[in-house]
């Protein structure tokens, strides 16, 4: 079993606690995200998976412990600064702008950038995602669910992230689209972007993941390679469904 050595880790959670209102959601979460790999968080509803991503991004307040990003603690760093430093985030559900065109959506993805190469980068992305080029003048609302998910990933990529935090990318998609979306996740990872993913569709996700982390009731139950978790009987029984 490979150890999660800090040197390889782009993002480290160290005994992180977070609350929502008065209720504790994370109760001392510790793990590391291996640079250049895909790591998937699995666990039942209410385990705190999405909160992990939000804590990393800084939209949930961490009450105890700390988060280390690229070997530097990022407590007190604003969300936008984290994004400037290479964190990109695809939240759960639809996170595009329905009454803006595909191209405008991509421009909004680049909101934090003020350099002149934005338009060029958009062109490059449209080359990479031909289906987006086809629809670049249409409103995002007119795209299918899967196309919108791909648009959202493209929006995140404009910032040239080092790590992509992606929440439930397969939610509400047809099986064919799910395959395509995961293929894109794999492709993005192939370009050197670390991926930290939360996914209900745990089997599929673990199949493309290098590592998996099982979260339950705000604590880390288990961390291992994706393959090992898939083959772990207890995990199978408790967290992967039948």
């Amino acid at each position: 079993m490979p150890t999660l050595e800090p040197d390889h880790d782009i993002l480290v959670f160290d005994k992180v606690e977070a609350t929502y209102g008065e209720a504790p959601i994370l109760r001392g979460v510790s793990f590391g995200v291996h640079k250049g790999k895909i790591t998937t968080l699995i666990g039942p509803n209410g385990a705190g998976k999405s909160t992990v991503l939000r804590a990393a991004l800084g939209t949930v307040r961490v009450t105890h412990g700390q988060i280390v990003y690229r070997h530097q603690p990022i407590t007190g760093v604003s969300t936008t600064d984290r994004q400037r430093k290479g964190m990109a985030y695809c939240p759960q559900g639809r996170s595009n702008f329905p009454r803006m065109t595909v191209r405008e959506n991509l421009e909004m993805g680049a909101f934090l950038r003020s350099d002149r190469e934005v338009q060029e980068d958009i062109e490059t992305l449209l080359d990479e995602f031909p289906l987006l080029r086809e629809k670049q003048k249409e409103f995002a609302a007119n795209l299918s669910g899967g196309q919108q998910q791909i648009l959202e990933m493209a929006m995140a990529l404009i910032l040239h992230p080092r790590i992509l935090l992606i929440d439930e990318p397969s939610l509400g998609l047809s099986p064919i689209m799910v395959e395509q979306v995961f293929a894109y996740v794999k492709e993005i990872n192939g370009q050197g972007v670390t991926v930290l993913m939360v996914e209900q569709n745990a089997r599929r996700a673990l199949a493309i993941s290098d590592y998996g982390i099982v979260l339950d009731l705000g604590r880390v139950r288990l961390k291992d390679t994706g393959e090992a978790l898939l083959n772990n009987e207890e995990v199978s029984r408790s967290y992967l469904g039948s």
């Binding site: 929502y20 209102g21 008065e22 209720a23 959601i25 209410g46 705190g48 999405s50 909160t51």
Partner: protein, 327 residues
């Protein structure tokens, strides 16, 4: 513990009953009557706003409709007060059904503005329907609150008598609100306020419950209007004005909505406050506005909610809240 409770209730009742004798000054009795009207109005307003989450601007409209109905009956037919009160309730309820049915289809912002529109139109009609309302000339000479039993008659001519009448009305209002709050209806209303989608999903007829709260609130407001017409002995279009709505909203949101103590404390503070500030006449309303801004920032859930929280924290130390677990 039961006698304990009884003693406190009796004590409160005694204080309230002896209040006009204690304060003596007609000005303070007058202010007390205004405060009691506002308490009752705020409690009934809270039925709509605090317990359904919908912001209605129509409430003073129902108050005004009740006042005009009672005044017209008293002036033209010489009807006794109980009849005027009943008629005021009926017209206010009818109006609330007419307003409510289309309005409840609207989203919450549109509902607020829709009811604001109703309030405005009602006031403009009162201002211009001269043959009936006399417009800005008001309807003066409304007979006082009276009771007739055969040859025996009684009428509330002094301030203190009016105080007791409104005290009874406010108590009845409180009773209605408590009954509603502690009944299945009240719990359902709270459930709807907290999660309307869920309530709908489990088959609660949401619209019917909201209408029930809206109509009950309107009826209470109408009854208070009938008292006001007699107490003030005149009804003017200003009684339907937006100023009332503004006051009620301030009372409710800064007192604490969805509670019983909140509207009561809010009414005492925010009708009493401008009166107290009479010392600094020129700056009075400047200070008042400033206090509202500060209160909305510092005690946004209302003074009473804030006070309870502080008190609970001190008593029980840090505790697990009841906020839903969120992923």
């Amino acid at each position: 513990m039961r006698w304990h409770r009884l003693v406190v209730w009796l004590l409160i009742a005694a204080v309230l009953a002896l209040w006009p004798l204690y304060v003596g000054s007609p000005y303070l009795v007058g202010v007390s009557i205004t405060v009691l009207i506002y308490i009752a109005l705020a409690l009934s307003f809270d039925l709509v706003v605090g317990r359904t989450g919908l912001l209605s601007f129509a409430h003073p409209g129902f108050f005004g409709i009740g006042a005009y109905t009672a005044a017209l009956l008293g002036l033209h037919l010489g009807s006794p007060f109980p009849l005027r009160l009943g008629a005021a309730v009926v017209t206010a309820v009818l109006a609330s059904i007419i307003i409510g049915v289309p309005s409840f289809r609207l989203s919450y912002h549109s509902f607020a503005m829709g009811t604001l529109g109703f309030a405005f139109i009602a006031q403009i009609i009162a201002l211009n329907w001269i043959p009936v309302t006399r417009g800005p000339l008001c309807l003066p000479g409304v007979p006082p609150v009276d009771l007739r039993m055969g040859s025996w008659t009684w009428s509330a001519t002094t301030l203190s008598e009016n105080y007791y009448v409104v005290l009874i009305l406010a108590t009845i209002t409180l009773w209605i609100v408590v009954r509603v709050a502690h009944s299945r209806i009240g719990r359902t209303l709270m459930a709807i306020r907290d999660d309307e989608t869920l309530a709908k999903a489990v088959g609660v007829p949401v619209l019917r419950y909201k209408m029930l709260a809206f109509v009950t609130g309107a009826g209470v407001a109408g009854s208070l209007g009938s008292f006001f017409a007699s107490y003030a002995s005149a009804v003017c279009p200003t009684e339907l004005g937006i100023a009332y709505s503004v006051n009620l909203i301030i009372i409710l949101f800064l007192g604490g909505r969805g509670t019983l103590a909140g509207p009561i404390l809010g009414a005492i503070l925010f009708t009493g406050l401008p009166e107290f500030l009479r010392m600094a006449e020129a700056w009075r309303l400047v200070v008042y506005g400033l206090l509202i801004i500060l209160a909305s920032a510092l005690v946004p859930e209302g003074i009473i909610t804030w006070a309870f929280e502080m008190w609970q924290k001190r008593r029980e130390g840090p505790q697990l809240g009841s906020a839903p677990l969120a992923n």
